[in-house]
Symmetry: C2
Subunit: 416 residues, 2 copies
């Protein structure tokens, strides 16, 4: 018998989920209720007339559905709806990354106590089945790291800066015009969106409870088109990379722009694509890539979760791997660095920089300068050998106080 | 309570599976029996003393284990052991691609009838969780194609020819010396190994029963180092590509060497890595990549399947998507072509080739000739616009009868 589905939220993803359910012909899923605020303006004519449209959440809960799909997003009231469904023994499928990142363990415990599923493939990487891949597909490995390009907006902006030579503001404006960035892109650019996804992957892949506020985030706003020219000269490009690594005594976790070698899987996804690379003790690198955003790819993940419930045919859900809190969560600790400066040229600049690096025991690897700068606006780059990121941060703060900068200096870690 | 595991076959993968089980500390799996012919020579000291070593299959079946892992390979007696275990209600985990490709549906039906699992993540792509990814992860999509680099031996040989300029024979010898190719590499080079995997992916991803003998295979033995030079000039490389595509009225399926653009995910995996790209109506391209061979990556897949059974804690297995036989299975039907010739130079060669192509309505796209050939051994390449592969095969057969060849002409499809 078909699984009756209640859909909470009828935005882009919700409409795509409805489409996929309606267009399926196998009788496994049946769209029963669509809930949305001011639902009248949402009505479409391509869903069956049997579907109940409502803006009263009670209608959904009173209908005793087989599964609830929460696509409303945000922490409240989404969390209370999750709890209410789970407590009533109704499985929940969601794309709500912030809620799962913040309260995933409590909700999973609640689901387990009731013997029902809470599935969230759509919360990370859109249509890429990485949650299931880490949870089950390579569960036999001992994973030690998860890295990824987890935010399609940042990846669109950075790859457009790279391929078309756009300045940051132009690439952002283009992303907004194309629907790849929101009017307020803060969550994407500052790394908060990717951070939530990274916390979910840390839980699923590494069995570690990492809270979003524990993960260091850096903005991509300070990347300039010049940086792509220098990165290319270093056989690298720039991406917003999310990375969590198990280290002695805890984990390192960071979301932010970094130089990645052109040969890395992280360098190869373009536009709004996402990629996740899991590092394991036995299987080494396993890569998952695809479309990380958009209505239909995300809807594929939601419907796949629904089918997993339907095909289990009432059996108990599989248990999730147990998780523990890491003893410590630190930012990246040691890395080679890329430092880009734009200066008003004058004698002694390199000497003053070298003196600061020397005082922090940081070794200069190379100084690069592309032609085309002017005396009043001279970009150049210094690459630095691997050093503690705390030393680098201190050195960078001292350098920022020097009087010759046209724009603030930019330091980016160089990933191996 | 720990799942008791009987291991059939203690070769490279079997030993790696034993390692992973022994090194796990979570009490979910317990290695109970190890079966191998002449088992005495296989004994190792790092498995617990409670493990029963035997060369009598009856010992395994009499022990009423929770799960049997079949790593013996081949069709017989593996098939009868699968049947016996499933009939006794014992789930089976296997890496046996030939058996699953040939008799997968009958075995899955048998498993379903008994309400037990038959899992075979390890049969395709080693540690890459593509079976689970297609079966569950993107089950919500409607997949229309699956392409992949499915044979690590061929990929090792071809990428070494590409990166080190080795001739085919030298690259094969190196692969054998490194343990990436067997003494008799026929199954790998001719495409039979990849074909079995492609049939499994067609079943799991497209819901189609394609039998191995229905899939056209072409050998990679005729690829020369020259071909990589020309491929590079065409912004492409050469890979053994396995591909099945749903078309009007059936499927197209082929395993064999092809030109792939350098920007394709298929071009980017090197050495013994594998990649699988699923094309879907809603999620577009989803890519899975990693180490497709070797003891530990394959063991990760086996142990992940075991954990899936353990974590289900006795619940019924999820049902597999239903499959149907395609109405027709044909080779690739239309493609642009790469034709490489090595000739004794004389006037009129191009004219005679052009005449044959013209008589089959095949349009020449370009003629390429790299410097360095001699009058007695002159390689050159003709690229041809998209044409029916049957026309191309006929033209190629006619061309092969011309008197000026030093080596047989080679035609390769160019994938988009």
């Amino acid at each position: 018998m078909a699984l009756s589905v209640g859909l909470l939220g009828f935005g882009t993803v919700g409409q795509s989920v409805a489409r996929l359910i309606v267009e399926r012909g196998d009788g496994l899923l049946r769209l029963s209720h669509i809930f949305n605020r001011q639902v009248a303006r949402k009505r479409v004519d391509w869903v069956p007339p049997t579907v109940v449209w409502t803006d009263q959440i009670e209608d959904v809960f009173n209908a005793r559905l087989d599964v609830v799909v929460e696509l409303v997003g945000g922490l409240d009231p989404a969390r209370s709806w999750h709890e209410r469904a789970l407590d009533a023994g109704i499985p929940v499928v969601t794309a709500n990354k912030q809620l799962v990142a913040m309260h995933g363990q409590a909700l999973l415990d609640r689901a387990a106590a009731r013997g029902v599923d809470l599935l969230f493939e759509a919360a990370v990487g859109g249509g890429i089945p990485v949650v299931r891949g880490l949870r089950e597909g390579i569960a036999g490995d001992q994973l030690t790291s998860v890295s990824g390009i987890l935010n399609g907006t940042c990846n669109y902006i950075l790859t457009r800066m790279e391929s078309a030579g756009l300045a940051f503001a132009a690439a952002l404006a283009e992303a907004q015009a194309q629907g790849f960035a929101e009017a307020d892109p803060t969550d994407d650019l500052e790394g908060y969106d990717a951070r939530a996804k990274l916390c979910i992957l840390a839980r699923v892949g590494l069995g570690l409870d990492v809270a979003p506020h524990q993960v260091a985030c850096e903005s991509i706003r300070s990347i300039s088109d010049d940086d792509f020219v220098y990165a290319r000269r270093l056989q690298a490009t720039i991406r917003q990379v999310s990375r969590v690594t198990v280290v002695q005594g805890g984990v390192q976790a960071r979301v932010g722009p970094a130089l990645v070698p052109l040969t890395s899987p992280l360098a190869r996804v373009i536009g709004s694509q996402n990629v996740i690379v899991a590092g394991g003790t036995y299987g080494r690198e396993t890569t998952f890539a695809g479309y990380g955003a958009g209505g239909f790819p995300t809807a594929v993940a939601v419907v796949s979760d629904l089918l997993a419930i339907a095909r289990r045919a009432g059996g108990a859900p599989a248990s999730w791997p147990s998780t523990t809190a890491p003893t410590s969560v630190s930012p990246l600790q040691v890395a080679p660095y890329y430092l880009r400066l734009v200066v008003r040229d004058r004698p002694g600049i390199i000497a003053s920089l070298a003196s600061i690096f020397s005082s922090h025991a940081i070794n200069i690897d190379a100084v690069l300068q592309e032609p085309g700068g002017t005396k009043d606006h001279l970009p150049f780059v210094i690459t630095l050998e691997a050093c503690p990121t705390t030393s680098m941060a201190t050195a960078l703060a001292e350098i920022a106080t020097l009087p010759f900068h046209v724009t603030p200096p930019l330091g980016l870690p160089v990933l191996g």
